[in-house]
Amino acid sequence: MESWSAGQPRGAGLGAWFLLAVGVIGLGISVYLTTLHYAGVAPYCTNGGFVNCEGVLKSQYSFVPGTSIPVTVPGMVWFIVSGALAAIAIRCARRGLSEPAWLRPVHVLWAALGLIAVLYFIWAELVQLHELCEWCTSVHVLVFLCLLAALARLQSGVRAAEGPR
């Protein structure tokens, strides 16, 4: 359990660092796919059969509905925000400050929003396109892990507030 004494630098905990790492990796993948989209270059991935990432990435479901904006752009925004929330927690710990009370619940909500989007994309891949995209699946897994980590941090924060039994 973290020490909450103000002014005393402390470790941020594995959860915050994990969330930051997820944000960085996810942002990297999103930037990669977005760059290739606008460059008109196919990503490095499997093309053929059920796993056909190019087919998925060129489908209608890879664009924000009603626009020509690839969904990788809001994906970049999602990972930036998630990483920023984790960075706030780490910064507070390093400076011995208490985390804002809203930080962990907001991170859970943000991750839950991401999971809703992920479930939509999985539906599009499995039910509509009958094809899977490796890059997309890796991003989906990252979002799911992010939600699990955010939930765990929220739970540990609740237990710390209740005090020892």
Binding site: G40, V41, A42, N47, G48, G49, N52, E54, G55, K58, S59, Q60, Y61, F63, S68, L115, L119, I122, W123, L126, V127, Q128, L129, H130, E131, F144, L147, L148, L151, A152, Q155, S156, R159, R165
Partner: protein
């Protein structure tokens, strides 16, 4: 103390009567008192701070560790969420496997052709077209013998009938030339892009257009495309009885090396185009934009094949439209190619 009279002394020692005359109680034998240790003198206690009352250990409160409710265990939320997500994915898998078709409308899964790609195919430079000429492509138009009635469209103009399928890689390659050629005589609308099927044993994922859901308007030519199946081989469009008759009549020897093969095109019942004038292997690994970008390079193999094939088709259209429009049909290399077309 005066001594008792002799008599009194005798009565006392022999159990004599009390003075009242009754016999007195027998004298008790003297019980020797236990010798008691003389109490040591107690020194007064130094004052000590009042101690907290110490209850005997048997009354001490026992610490009872209460079991945490299961929903507050560290793994409850994460485990529950994982179960829910896995269940939802399983449902999607079941739904996906039980529905044979992606969608009856391929346009629901296909994107509109990007403006930059459309600009490239509709704006092929006349100088590039002239330089490429036939582009090394053999004449793909087979003249129809027997002088059948001209095939015309709903507008009374000569009609180009096209039969293909979205999964077909040869259709995918051919469509690039068809779009370029027809764009010289009219305008496409709502043109979507797609890819041929992903079968690794074929020529997978050839980037192309699809005519499904598109429309074409021209004062010189009517265009009647049929995309029979989508990328997954699911039914899309069905030819009319008249169109089916065309296929039965002309998509066979001597006009076609493969009976019922696609792509199949009937240009006004004057020329038959069977198969593709563009080898789809040339387009492998190229995106729509990359293919479009080649159309300005006269030395590029892809450009030569696509534009050369389009020039042949343009020449054939000019033949059936009577050389209209003049701006197209008199521009090099069309007149030269038109002169090389076989006659019916």
């Amino acid at each position: 103390m005066a001594r008792l009279s002799k008599r009194r002394r005798e009565e006392t020692t022999s159990g004599g009567t009390t003075p009242a005359g009754r016999p007195g109680p027998a004298p008790k034998p003297a019980t020797p008192r236990a010798s008691t240790t003389p109490r040591a003198s107690t020194t007064p206690r130094a004052s000590t701070p009042p101690r907290a009352s110490t209850t005997p250990s048997r009354y001490r409160a026992q610490r009872v560790t209460l079991a945490r409710p299961w929903w507050q265990s560290p793994w409850a939320w994460g485990g529950g969420l994982t179960v829910v997500v896995v269940a939802v994915v399983v449902v999607f898998i079941v739904l996906g496997s039980s529905s044979p078709s992606k969608s009856t409308s391929s346009s629901s899964s296909n994107q509109l052709a990007p403006a930059s790609v459309l600009a490239a195919v509709t704006g092929v430079s006349p100088s590039v077209s002239s330089t490429i000429a036939a582009g090394g492509v053999a004449d793909p138009l087979e003249p129809v013998t027997g002088s059948p009635a001209a095939l015309t469209g709903p507008n009374g103009s000569p009609e180009l009938f096209y039969l293909g399928a979205e999964y077909c890689p040869y259709c995918a390659a051919e469509r690039w030339s068809v779009v370029i050629a027809l764009s010289r005589f009219g305008t496409f609308s709502n043109l979507h892009i797609t890819m041929s099927d992903s079968n690794p044993d074929d020529i997978p994922n050839t980037h192309t257009f699809t005519f499904y859901g598109s429309s074409y308007s021209s004062q010189y030519l009517d265009f009647a495309p049929i995309e029979s199946e989508d990328r997954s081989g699911n039914p899309l469009q069905t030819p009319t009885a008249a169109e089916e008759n065309l296929v039965t009549t002309y998509d066979t020897s001597p006009y076609s090396s493969q009976t019922g093969g696609i792509p199949f095109q009937d240009l006004a019942n004057s020329y038959i185009l069977s198969g593709s004038g563009v080898n789809p292997e040339l387009l492998q690994g190229m995106t729509w934009q990359q293919i479009a970008n080649t159309l300005t390079d006269t030395s590029n193999q892809v450009a030569q094949a696509i534009i050369g094939n389009a020039n042949w088709l343009t020449a054939g259209i000019c033949k059936v439209t009577g050389g209209q429009p003049g701006s197209v049909c008199t521009a090099a290399p069309i007149p030269t190619l038109e002169g090389q077309l076989g006659s019916s």
